[in-house]
Amino acid sequence: MIKLVLSSVRHNLARYLATLVAISAGVGFFVAVSVISDGIISSLDGNVDAQYGTVDVAVVPDDTTTVASTGAEPEPLKLPQSSVDHLLALPGVDGGAGILTAPVAFQAEDGKPFATSATGRLWITDKELNPLTVTEGKAPTSSGQIAVDQGTADDQHLKVGESLTLLTLAGKQKVTLVGITDFGDSDALDTGGTVSISEPDAFTWLNNGQQEYASFYLRGNDPSTLVAEAGQVIPDGFNVQTGNEFRQDQRDANGSFAQGLKKALQAFAVLALLVGGFVIYNTFSVIVAQRLRELAVLAAIGATPRQLKRSLRLEGVVLGIVGSVLGVITGYLLTLALEGVLKATGNTLPGGLSVSTSTIVSGLLLGTIITVLSVMIPARRAGRTEPIEAMREAATESASLGRTRGIVCVVLGVLGLVAMLAGSSLAVIGLGVVAFVASVFVGAPYLARGGARAARPLLERFGIEGRLAVDNSVRSPKRTATTANALLIGVFLVTLVAVAGASIRDFAIQQVNDLQSADYVVVSTGGTIDPAFVAKLRDVKDVNEVVAFRREPVTIDSKASIASAGDVAQMAKIASIKAENGSLADLTTGTIAVLDTGEGKVPAVGSTVTVKDSRGKDVQLRVVAVLAPTQDTGQTGSIIDEHTFDSLVGDVAPTVAFVDIASGAQGSTKDAIQNLADLRPDITAQEGNAVGKLIRSVFDFLIKAVTGLLLMSVVIALIGIINTMSLSILERRRELGLLRIIGMTDKRVRRMVTLESVLISLLGTLGGMLTGLVVSLLLVLSFNRLSQATITPSIPWVELIVILVLGVLLGVLAALLPARRSTRMEVLDAIAAS
């Protein structure tokens, strides 16, 4: 049998090449998507275990209640040394580590800053809790000593023993680099580089000399008892967690976003496989159909149906394995190419490229299994065919469509529509989408037949070749449909992402745009916005006004929040600070304007709230106004009067400023303000409508990235069309030869092939686009129904038209090779005696 298989492969080399291309393209697509998503997923998951693996108890600040949609991240509460002393004194504590970070940068001898996004970290002396290990030199233990991560050392060519200038919140510091650190498998703990600072310097350089920690971790034998005890000694606004809870929180924090994206990427890899599967199945069914005659001869000379099937299955296994191996290689090359393209445009793939064993194994297995299945279905048909029937005429797929298919299609379609229209949960709606798309797939042969017939009047304008192109695609609607389906699924997803993505993006942007805001928000993390810096800002051309204000993390009625104080009238003039209840004018000593965060109960005007700062000082304040949630009040939090602030927090300097600039000068002022901020590591300048821009750019990136990946599936579909057309031409070589004998010129033969190819790709494109439109509009409707949102579906017409045009071009492109082939065959083949 093996001999037979090998000889079959030898004699049908062109066809097997087509199959191999199909299999390796399908598997390659799957592997590429898997490798890329693995990288993205692992980069999103982070190294939670490496960083916090030994933490038994964690004391962390509560999430600050703020306007969730604005993205404002004011400074959280810090844990004072006094609380830490209590914690360390608890029985059963084996060790502790305080976390304190602040932005730092280096200054070169020529005065230019470098490594400007580095993070300064208090060096943790507890060896077990410290996630960093010293790989060269020693740990920074005494004043003036620092260590940097391997990546920064390599990038900036820093050597152990070198003297450097470090820019900190407390100004320039002369330091000596004493060690190089490593974090697990990666170089740095922080994306911009990690600078470890010794305990004697850390509080001065990173926290204005205050002995405070952002969070504190403990080691101990009995975490649950420790948690209970620690809860007794920590101030309001902090939370005690066991190590496991804490690690889970960290993972979750790394992403509800990451989780969603992870699922999407995995779904995408499955999809990749599906598209690849279509191409493989289709190619094989065409090939087996063509070989029915050969199989019939074998059957006639005594091969049993079982032997025939076994021979075909063996063929499938051989092809599947060879194709899958090639596919894994192709997939890896594809990711290399993608990385190259990204590098050329100054981007990097998140997470880098690593091919996991599971990716390789699943790629090989899935490719082989799909190939074997793709062979077995047509092989069963081959087994059923009477030998004499098959020998008589090159038997091809039947044009008839079973009744079961129709019923399944209608039932799935109705179920899907109902689930999408009336589904009460995302799961039901999701299943509805799957059912609806499945119905389109099952019903695709009807669509192919109906669509081709509908296109007949148009194509007949091209003459008899148009007519024959339609006839040929109708002749085998199942084959036309499977070919078109590969394209359909790609276009469906592109449309879905374009329409649903654009709708949600526009909705989100509009929400943000409703919130008018200051042009820039300048924030000092750890430092202050001193009058000198305000003056520098005012000197920037086109800056109209700079209003600095003081801000402090506090708890209001035991809920973590922030409070600000400043010239409220000035602030309200250039930023969107409005009272929804009460009046800001009533703000005097002993009163507060509380922020409506949109969640929880807002204290009523006239009621009294308890405001506590991080050192435990508290004050009772009467509510005179409730602030409407805007992007700017997201920055200020609740507002109190200057005297109240003085008595609560002390006479500290402002840390935040709103900047107002002449209208239309956003672009020209950006660099100047950014340059000022760069010289001060503690200061960041954010464009006021940055959130809107951020949302737009995040969505645009996601839509583009996903569309880019989907376009790969379209390329695979292109290969599918080329394969089907080439095989169909081989199959019809007699017919084509005859047409040429009785007078069809080569040009018209090529046009006929092209028209058929365009027809198939148009069927796929239009089918996919319509399915995508229906599903995404229904999705937006159900989303509105479930969440009371009012997303208006935005249909990106231009993109849809571009997709349609691309579909036609794809058809023309896919026909190039087969069309050339069609006229290269000898006309005499048509009359050769079989």
Binding site: G463, L468, V474, R475, L738, G743, T745, L828, A830
Partner: protein, 250 residues
């Protein structure tokens, strides 16, 4: 008269002059046609016979513009087809030649009528209705015109093919084993139609066959062996042709 080196006469619908067709080179060279010069007179039914490998199909294909000669020339009327390019050849076949083959010669997705009219459709012209009806009557396909080839018997399919060759009134029809795949009764029907086309409408037909009975319908039989014309026979009968053929085998 069948072999001639004289200048073309008006009465030849097609001619070959010192036609040679060689496959391969050097010692492996096979001469399918080893210098054939022949006229196919107008309004006549000529049969080409010969054992397998004698070159009879090659001769027909080269004269009909389906294949090219290695050397020598072939004419359709006064047109030297060895000087035509591929497209010109295709158009010549479309406008001036008709073909009937052993099998596989209908387009499966077109109805009988559409198949018959295909050469005219390709040329962008219409059939003369009276002429079309007359041919339909002759071949007896009136009530089968709307059927697809798969719904027709082998004989009916071949009648469609004959009608397709006849309707455009080509200068010459080439038939390659037209009865090879048919039972003898249907074969006789087809040959009768062809004979009548020559007698009644002055059609010119060149037919390649290995069947002496089929050859007996021709005005004249040419015998080919080893790429050369070795004999000819006017007003053949099946028995005489059979006797002549036996000499090749002997």
């Amino acid at each position: 008269m069948t072999t001639s080196t004289e200048a073309p006469t008006r009465s030849a619908a097609a001619r070959a002059v010192d036609a040679r067709k060689t496959y391969g080179t050097g010692e492996a060279a096979v001469h399918a046609l080893a210098g054939v010069t022949v006229d196919f007179p107008e309004h006549e039914f000529t049969a080409i016979m010969g054992p397998s490998g004698s070159g009879k199909s090659t001769l027909m294909q080269c004269v009909a513009g389906l294949d090219r000669l290695t050397s020598g020339s072939a004419y359709i009327g006064d047109t030297d087809i060895s000087k035509l390019n591929k497209t010109q050849l295709t158009l010549l076949r479309r406008d001036r030649l008709g073909f009937i083959f052993q099998q596989y010669n209908l387009i499966p997705s077109l109805t009988a009528k559409e198949n018959i009219l295909l050469p005219l459709t390709l040329a962008g012209t219409k059939a003369n209705d009276a002429w079309f009806d007359e041919i339909m009557r002759t071949v007896g396909l009136q009530d089968r015109l709307g059927n697809l080839p798969s719904q027709l018997s082998g004989g009916q399919q071949q009648r469609v093919a004959v009608a397709r060759a006849l309707v455009p009134k080509p200068d010459i029809i080439f038939a390659d084993e037209p009865t090879g795949a048919l039972d003898s009764r249907t074969g006789i029907e087809i040959l009768t139609f062809m004979r009548r086309a020559v007698d009644d409408t002055g059609q010119t037909i060149v037919m390649v066959t290995h069947d002496p009975h089929a050859a007996s319908y021709a005005n004249r039989v040419l015998f080919l062996a080893d790429g050369q014309i070795v004999d000819s026979m006017d007003d053949p009968t099946a028995d005489r042709v059979l006797d002549r053929m036996k000499q090749f085998e002997g």
